[in-house]
């Protein structure tokens, strides 16, 4: 490729960043591109920022499309599409050396020719107005840009139009017509001195692929797991799950309630659980704080519920539309008393589906609360992956209202509790009372010191049993060596990619990702012992003693001084570069 012309490192991969204002509809065109990638057997991961105010403001949508595995949204962009001067000024730095900047020449007046970046000014606004007609002003310029990108990257135009039509099809006919006018104008626009590209064909296997975000996959997973009831209170970035459940569950004969607050929501959910259903509540950090008293009750009363925390930046109202993993300790220990509960974290969008299924199974099996720690990044980013096979994963909801045997006890010391919901007859004639007071095996309040110790042990046993059944996670990369990078939650992709890049520096690097956060699976120490350094990467603070929340737990659990932390609290997902240099520092002994 001739110098001066845009030469992406590989057309197996491209990162496109759209920078504009939230009203410009860049989220929707980013979504179209992500969906197209999924449909054309490519991998994709997106990343967006949304202003936390309703009136809008600067916003970006970044799409990383690749023909091989795509594990992150891209550290730097290959192409920047700038809608305004402020978008240009804020994001030019995110464009790689020699990248391409397409900008609205009607808005961006000052460009900086630097780092071999190729600038192409196109009047997005004026060309859109001309194509669609004056009355709509500049609405539709996102579609103009989509047409432009479609042409530049040789995307499958027919499929793309299909996706767009389906989206707009629900609206007024004229909306689709105008959108297509703008799209065609962009597609036909003569960009001049710019090479056209084509992605290599993807390698994804047989079967259908879908593209969506983490909140949608959690919702689908919950329904597949047999959840039909629950309640919640709106909060970003959890709301879209409750909105979907509210709209979807009636189709399945269920009800999702908008409660007056989060403690009411978890209480209603516990009511449904007591009534014999698998039920879910959820929120973000502030709401989880409110739910804590009832979650302690759920451990004591041994009621099965799923609780989702889509984490955002804290403390307090914090950063509502940013990502953080600072609610781990709260998830495990946030309630009063010794109250065992299971904590899981999905590693990517696809995993949101399977983690919800697993949460449902564990809640029922151990009759205890199961918390799912998702986060803002997972909630909103789009990925493409194989469509789950419902013939394999579907769980039919059911309530066991069989008549209970003569010797039924709600809290047997020698077995895991399985409640008899209302409607179940008792052969003994004695009906159970579910209790938050310490109780004996029949649920009668008991202050006996011996009973409290025994019941605490009975509840603790669930965690011991769960730890024994959790699979030991597989190490990616070197199975022993210089450093093991440990992560949990949405950092899975960037950590894996970083582990692949570090050996280039001559290190033996492995990556381990935890999905079961509490209890931890048995046997992790045997993995930890095989590495010189263990670096736990998390999006939370080093705290008073220099360790992030998971690192603190792992150090306490394994007493292994090799365990160190790589933390950050800027509210943004980890970049590959940050992990690579952070781990290198540890290797150099400077961490």
């Amino acid at each position: 490729m001739s110098p001066g012309l845009y030469a992406p490192h590989s057309l197996r991969n491209a990162v496109i960043r759209f920078a504009g204002n939230s009203q410009d509809g860049i989220q929707s065109i980013g979504g179209f591109l992500a969906r197209l990638a999924g449909r054309t057997a490519q991998e994709v991961m997106t990343y967006m920022t949304i202003p936390s105010t309703i009136s809008g403001g600067p916003s970006i949508f970044q799409v990383h499309i690749g023909s091989g595995e795509v594990l992150h949204a891209g550290d730097e962009a290959d192409v920047l599409v700038a809608f305004y001067q402020h978008s240009y000024d804020s994001h030019l730095g995110a464009l790689r050396d020699g990248g391409v900047c397409l900008y609205d020449s009607g808005e961006v007046k000052e460009v900086r020719h630097e780092r071999g970046i190729k600038h192409i000014g196109i009047p997005f606004t004026a060309a859109t107005v001309e194509a669609v007609g004056g009355s709509t002003r500049d609405r539709g310029k996102n579609m103009f840009v989509l047409g432009l990108v479609c042409a530049v990257f040789n995307l499958d135009k027919e499929k793309l139009i299909g996706i767009v039509s389906r989206q707009f099809g629900k609206k007024d006919e004229s909306v689709l017509r105008n959108a297509m006018l703008a799209f065609d104008a962009g597609f036909a626009y003569e960009v001049g001195d710019l090479e056209r590209f084509a992605f290599e064909h993807g390698e994804a296997g047989d079967g259908h692929r879908i593209s969506t975000d983490g909140n949608q996959m959690l919702t689908a997973g919950l329904i597949a797991a047999g959840v039909r009831y629950g309640a919640a209170y709106p909060i970003t970035p959890w709301s879209s799950i409750m909105e979907s459940l509210r709209a979807e569950l009636p189709k399945y004969g269920g009800i999702y309630v908008q409660a007056e607050d989060e403690l009411a929501a978890v209480s209603m959910t516990l009511g449904a659980a007591f009534a014999g259903h698998l039920a879910v509540t959820g929120s973000a950090g502030p709401g989880l704080s409110l739910k804590m008293e009832a979650l302690s009750y759920a451990s004591m009363a041994e009621l099965p519920i799923i609780v989702i925390n889509v984490q955002r930046g804290g403390p307090s109202t914090g950063l509502p539309t940013s990502v953080e993993q600072s609610d781990l300790m709260q998830a495990i220990y946030g309630s009063h008393g010794d109250c065992p509960r299971i904590v899981l974290a999905p590693q990517d969008v696809e995993d949101c589906f399977y983690i919800a299924l697993e949460a449902g199974r564990l809640a029922r099996k151990y009759s205890c609360p199961v918390i799912i720690l998702s986060d803002q990044a997972l909630s909103s980013r789009i990925e493409a992956f194989a469509e789950p096979d419902l013939d394999v994963h579907w769980v039919e909801p059911h309530i066991d209202l069989s008549t209970r045997r003569e010797d039924y006890r709600p809290y047997p010391l020698d077995r895991t509790t399985q409640h008899a919901p209302p409607g179940s007859r008792m052969s003994s004639g004695k009906y159970p009372v579910i209790s938050g007071l310490e109780h004996d095996e029949w649920g009668h309040p008991s202050g006996s010191p011996k009973m409290h110790s025994q019941m605490t042990g009975k509840r603790r046993q669930k965690l011991i049993d769960a730890a024994a059944e959790f699979p030991l996670p597989k190490v990616h990369g070197h199975q022993e060596g210089d450093v093991l990078i440990v992560g949990w939650g949405s950092t899975y992709g960037p950590i894996k990619e970083s582990a692949d890049r570090l050996p280039a520096e001559g290190f033996k690097v492995g990556a381990l990702h935890l999905r079961h956060l509490h209890p931890l699976p048995n046997g992790l120490e045997t993995i930890f012992n095989r590495y010189e350094h263990i670096v736990v990467v998390e999006m939370n603070d080093y705290g008073a003693y220099g360790y992030g929340q998971m690192a603190t737990l792992l150090r306490a659990r394994y007493c292994n001084p090799a365990i160190k932390s790589l933390c950050k609290t800027d509210g943004l997902a980890f970049r590959i570069r940050e992990i690579v240099t952070g781990v290198e520092k540890h290797l150099a002994g400077a961490g």
């Binding site: 999924g38 692929r209 189709k251 009800i255 007591f274 259903h277 008293e293 909801p397 409607g423 209790s435």
Partner: protein, 303 residues
């Protein structure tokens, strides 16, 4: 129809539901506590109504009065302070086949649980709620409650309480409850009639039952106890139209000691019915697709 909601299980006729069958642990209340009478009358009303034993559910928060579920041999749940109503909401909405009864005190209902009361009432969730009002915090040993009169000397107001108490009837009227009544634990016949009407009401029915705490507020209700020289005056429903909200507010103006009986009763669709209606309409629209196919279609739309 939903496949999740258990259709009323066909049950062979059981023995008559008797007080004996309904009795569980001996109450831990202080001798003379007003709550004993409430429990006894509740047994009696259930004996009369003869609901299937396994379909009766007793729910409570925390307080002396909230110990109620332990003393009832029915499915029961003793929850946390102030949150019994949302818990009961979850049961009622997800199990239309069971009868949900909620018990609690004035602190549990009007203070820590006050906002839940407003919302369960306005949503008209199908259940019956009995507030055993003793004008004091009993379980925690004599602190001021939201119904304690001004001047009441408690451990948190040693020189007499200064905060204006709430007016339970006005509060409940404003909340949107569809059945609101007031009764007295020392008037067992009256209590029985009121409970029965409350339970038979199709919607959110709430009863404030004055129930003396002999330990920490003895004599609180002497002014409405004839054998202590008070007057027990009942609502005359030939004069008071229970569907007239304005009249009910008027009736609630003076509750010292005020009148006893049904203040307000109207029919409004319950949340249970409205949600079920939505389910039925939604399911009719999508035809006979299986639940698994429904989710499959949703996933296919993401292709």
């Amino acid at each position: 129809m939903s496949t999740v909601l258990p259709s009323a299980t066909v049950t062979e006729p059981e023995d008559r539901l008797t007080k004996k069958a309904l009795t569980a642990d001996h109450p831990t209340w202080c001798p003379g506590c007003g709550d004993f009478a409430v429990l006894n009358i509740f047994y009696r009303v259930l004996e009369k109504l003869q609901y299937p034993h396994e379909k009766i559910v007793c729910v409570a928060g925390i307080g002396c009065s909230s110990r109620f579920p332990y003393f009832m041999n029915t499915h029961g749940i003793h929850f946390i302070h102030g949150r019994a109503l949302p818990l009961a909401t979850g049961i009622s909405l997800s199990r239309p086949d069971v009868h949900v009864f909620v018990f609690g005190g004035d602190g549990d209902g009007f203070s820590i649980g006050g906002n839940h009361l407003n919302h369960a009432a306005r949503k008209n969730v199908k259940l019956t709620y009995v507030i055993m009002d003793n004008f004091v915090y009993g379980l925690t040993k004599k602190q001021t409650s939201p119904t304690s009169p001004i001047g009441f000397k408690s451990k948190t107001d040693p020189t007499g309480s200064v905060d204006r108490p709430i007016n339970p009837m006005k509060q409940l009227l404003a909340s949107g409850a569809t059945f609101i009544a007031r009764t007295h634990a020392a008037q067992v016949k009256h209590m029985e009639q009121v409970f029965e009407r409350a339970i038979l009401h199709d919607g959110f029915s709430v009863v404030e039952c004055l129930s003396e705490c002999v330990m920490f507020y003895a004599g609180a209700f002497d002014d409405s106890t004839p054998r202590k020289g008070g007057t027990f005056e009942t609502v005359d429903e030939t004069q008071h139209d229970v569907t007239d909200e304005g009249a009910a507010f008027k009736l609630a103006e003076n509750l010292a000691p005020g009148k006893f009986g049904v203040y307000y009763q109207v029919q409004r669709p319950t949340k249970n019915d409205l949600e079920q209606k939505w389910i039925t309409e939604t399911q009719a629209k999508i035809g006979g697709a299986s639940q698994k196919d429904l989710l499959r279609k949703r996933l296919e739309a993401m292709r």
